[in-house]
Assembly symmetry: C2
Homo-oligomer: 420 residues x 2
């Protein structure tokens, strides 16, 4: 079967159209931070649920101080103190004020409050030298949140504000989407695990750690299931096993031209549908994306940078939508490039090759450090942009999308990009 | 004892000068993501540790194709294939090439590689129509990382790139600072926990959840230890208990003028040093910060927004430095305000009060939604900026610092701010 290589956004969107969503479950509010809210949550009660004071000060009847002025101060009798949590108690009568703390309920009769520092007070009296309008400095019941207000929409990640809103309603548990459990599998006979002795051109497995880090960053659970050797059967076996108790699988290696399509063959062997095979972007051109019974199966290049680029551009949005998040695609922003970028790692390769034309039209994903200079978002390209240059990831917090026909990137160019 | 209120950055810096750092421990690399690296980690070996191919293609001797041109193509004999992990094997002789996969070692004699797509190839031969320079398309040993290179500086949070760099060295464990375990305590008789019945002016505890969320976001562990009532002894008891098996404590409530200094008295009772009592900023003016045997003791206002503002501006940098992070202060950036902001929650309070002058000179911390418009970082102020307006936290991702003498904030104003 022939797969046409498409730009990453087209490839991603094809996958997003096909992906389903994991089921929901109920968790105690204590465990809800960072989880994805399942179903809109609306307010069952208004906040505050009573008229309250915004300040430490005095509650009073505005009619009692209508004529107050510096030359005509008005003194009221402080009849009691109202603290947060107290009932509002008996109403105020003419000439009376109540000492009131922030958040305490406004007593009947009172229609304004004033801060301590805007008065002259003693234990028994408070004196004002300016009037207050009826309703002044009172937080009305429902002013913050009304009954029925949307507190958290379906697909929202529960952040600090959501936790504040939900807890202020007295909720003890909420519905969230199941936390994704993603299996990570490495392929490649060249890989060593930490502790194994280095020899020949073997290298230590790093994709295992970088991809796990990215999965955790997205709020998923990640399990490393080990290495499959460079053979289709071994890969298929480990893949099948992974799919039994995981919601998705990410493999690395075994997808580039030189790997003889090991992973795509393994996908076919277990009956996984391949949706995308190769993407028109660099790095990250090698990559196979599909589904097995609705579970995303993602095979990324074995090259560390290519693997992460594929993750940021395609796998992460796919997994985020699958996890129930409503904001799954990265927000595209304009990014100013601070330094000329001559393609690192491609030191004047020969021209006119058989497939060179097509590849040269691929978008290039440029990575670099993010800075904000005078309010403008800038990207300083990492010195090296080769697929395998792991040191170039250090401090890279932002990606820019260089169109295929763009030519060399110059300092001052403004490109579309996104924060990773 | 009298405490002078200082701007938040001065208050914070006083605390930062006094804070120590938690001890280090060793963890397996699997568990290191998000942890704070203790001590500089340098490379024990170079990466790559051998000369390698950046592409799937052919390794060859550049002298053999010196005269290659479209009108004079040169054909070489492909004598074998080298895969990543293989030993480099025997050297190439005149007229020979080796098929080579990305990451595979360069055989002796070869001094250049060429991509598949820049050649015409069969199983046995490869034909080039342009020369290559000696050294072209070869990643030299040590080109990515040299022995002794700094991989992660002391105080770095282990992110994806750090995980990649450390794992590529074959490290199986690293030294990190102990993960902070922070106790959260609420005070205030007005507070209810979820499940308790609402009555009078009681309110559900939300600070417990918002502060826990922020602690988790910073990579700390958080334990909620429950409520202390509005009395010094009860607070002091719970505080003492918390300090036995936690690295720091955050309390909320009991610090504003109306609370009769309950928490400061509890600090004194257990022998904690108070360094800051009150801060010249709004919201967040009420707040007590100190240490007990080197452990940060932080008491924030009971008002949800004030508590979080104190956390973002002072408590978070303090705890981050204590946790060993080298970047503990938020990075100050220039932020463009998108909408006029008339002080919400302060609807024309009376002028000329006794302490009004000093408070009016306090910096105001304005919160709002962050957006990036044409590459410029913008803040759209939350509609309500009152201390207790929990809904105003929704979507607030950035804070701006409005100087005390600034006057009303207008759309288009550019202020210092930071992302939260």
């Amino acid at each position: 079967m022939h797969f046409e290589k498409r730009p990453f956004r087209e490839s991603r969107d094809l996958l997003l159209q096909k992906v389903s969503r994991v089921p929901a479950e109920t968790v105690p509010l204590d465990e809800a931070y960072g989880r994805v809210v399942a179903g809109d949550i609306t307010a069952g009660m208004m906040i505050p649920h009573y008229d309250r004071s915004p300040y430490d000060g005095y509650a009073l009847r505005s009619c009692d101080i209508r004529g107050a002025a510096p030359e005509n101060p008005v003194t009221l009798t402080v009849v009691r103190e109202i603290r947060p949590g107290d009932p509002a108690g008996r109403g105020l009568r003419e000439g009376e004020a109540a000492k009131i703390l922030t958040g305490a309920p406004i007593p009947e009769g009172a229609d304004a409050t004033v801060k301590y520092e805007d008065t002259v007070f003693s234990g028994e009296t408070v004196t004002l030298s300016a009037p207050l309008a009826a309703g002044q400095n009172i937080i009305r019941a429902g002013e913050d949140v009304k009954k029925g207000d949307l507190l958290a929409a379906d697909g929202t990640v529960a952040d600090t504000a959501v936790m504040g809103l939900l807890s202020s309603q007295g909720l003890s548990e909420i519905a969230v989407y199941k936390k994704l459990r993603v299996a990570v599998i490495s392929t490649g006979d060249e890989l060593l695990e930490a502790g194994e002795e280095l020899s020949g051109s073997k290298i230590y497995n790093s994709n295992r750690y970088t991809l796990t880090a990215e999965l955790l960053k997205n709020g998923f659970a990640a399990d490393y299931l080990g290495r499959a050797g460079d053979d289709t059967d071994g890969i298929a076996d480990l893949l099948s096993r992974a799919l039994q108790d995981h919601d998705a699988v990410i493999l690395t290696g075994g997808v580039s031209a030189g790997d003889y399509d090991l992973v795509p063959d393994a996908f076919r062997k277990i009956g996984a549908e391949i949706v995308i095979h190769g993407v028109k972007m660099k790095p990250g051109m090698a990559g196979v994306y599909g589904f097995y019974q609705g579970k995303p199966c993602i095979a990324l290049s074995g090259n560390p940078v290519s693997a992460l680029t594929g993750f940021y551009c395609i796998a992460a949005p796919l997994l985020r939508k699958y996890a129930g998040m409503s904001r799954y695609n990265p927000e595209i922003i304009r990014v100013k490039i601070t330094r000329d970028f001559t393609k690192g790692g491609q030191k004047g390769g020969q021209k006119g090759g058989q497939k060179g034309g097509q590849n040269r039209m691929a978008e290039r994903i440029l990575r670099g450090a993010m800075s904000i200079e005078n309010g403008t978002v800038c990207l300083t390209p990492s010195r090296e942009q080769g697929n395998v240059v792991i040191s170039s990831l250090s401090g890279a917090r932002i990606l820019a999308i260089v169109p295929g026909d763009h030519g060399p990137v110059k300092a001052g160019d403004v490109l579309d990009g996104f924060i990773i």
